[in-house]
Symmetry: C2
Subunit: 184 residues, 2 copies
């Protein structure tokens, strides 16, 4: 799965060749087909893998640091998606590619919509701890905006239209604004 995320982040979904994936993973193409059945199987499981990995790196906390406040927890979860590390770049590139290819290919749409919804619900949950008097609809709306903004900023960063530090500032300000809106 790591090899698949790497190859997609390098060549795009549409540049994904099973031969290159097999070479990257150090296995035969037959084993790839045995394991994933087909190209759709590869993409579907890669989507799951990058979501699990994002779940891990956005929730990892320094064990020696004092426990974060609800607000810090929210901010860290979102801002950790805008980091210049190999893992985050690879994950964000692959996610952007799966999103972009779903515009043309209907196969992945359901999986992608489900993954998006799970992400939105997670962020809505964190927002609800920060602003416990908010309605579920208001929390979901704020979470949809923050995650869609994060996707937009991430693509601008990866495509060279926006420096990473500035993307982080813009996202932090959006979190401020959404939290204030929920509290008003």
């Amino acid at each position: 799965m790591e090899a698949a995320a790497r190859v997609i982040a390098r060549r795009g979904v549409r540049g994904l060749r099973v031969e290159e994936l097999a070479a990257e993973a150090g296995v035969s193409t037959a084993l790839i087909y045995y394991h994933f059945k087909d190209r759709t199987g590869i993409l579907r499981q890669t989507l799951e893998f990058i979501n699990d990995r994002a779940e891990r790196y956005t929730t990892e906390r320094d064990p020696d640091a004092p426990p974060p406040t609800a607000r810090e927890e929210l901010e860290q979860t979102l801002l950790l998606e805008l980091q210049d590390t190999v893992e985050v770049r690879e994950n964000s590139t692959a996610w952007g590619e799966l999103r972009a290819s779903a515009v043309f290919d209907e196969t992945l749409r359901e999986d992608l919509a489900r993954a998006t919804r799970i992400w939105v619900q997670e962020v809505a949950g964190l927002l609800g701890v920060v602003q416990p008097m908010s309605s579920a609809v208001a929390l979901a709306g704020a979470a949809e905006r923050l995650t869609a903004l994060l996707e937009g900023l991430s693509m601008r960063w990866l495509s060279g239209s926006l420096p990473l530090a500035h993307a982080r500032t813009l996202l932090t300000e959006a979190i401020d604004t959404e939290v204030a809106r929920l509290g008003s």
Copy 2:
């Protein structure tokens, strides 16, 4: 140029074949190469074309309607990018493709960064009419967030993760929030 936008919206940047473009435009491939020089030339001019076209359809107003307020002007300019018409779908799909392919290909990055900046400045200008006491930095930040959010929402819509009407509601609420933030 219309044919190029259509082919990119149908097959993606990476599925663009000069033969198909020539057939779509009803000309020879030699003429395509004569006019655009190479593939990069096609992509570069398509980017310019879709920006001009977006400029047109987001500023078109009903001549019989009363002149819009500054706030209506701002809202219409942004919301007209989220419409289920052939032209807007094609434009947004092609824009998303040019953005996504710039992650892998450095050639288009400068043109894309410039087009993004012009768009941000246009929206910042409209925001400045709504909230004339705001600083240029605050206006630019709000415009960057609104346009990046619009890109994110647009990709979710086109990839089937978000119904169009809901995308429009989320964007309208974001405009409310950004305008209120600038006024506070």
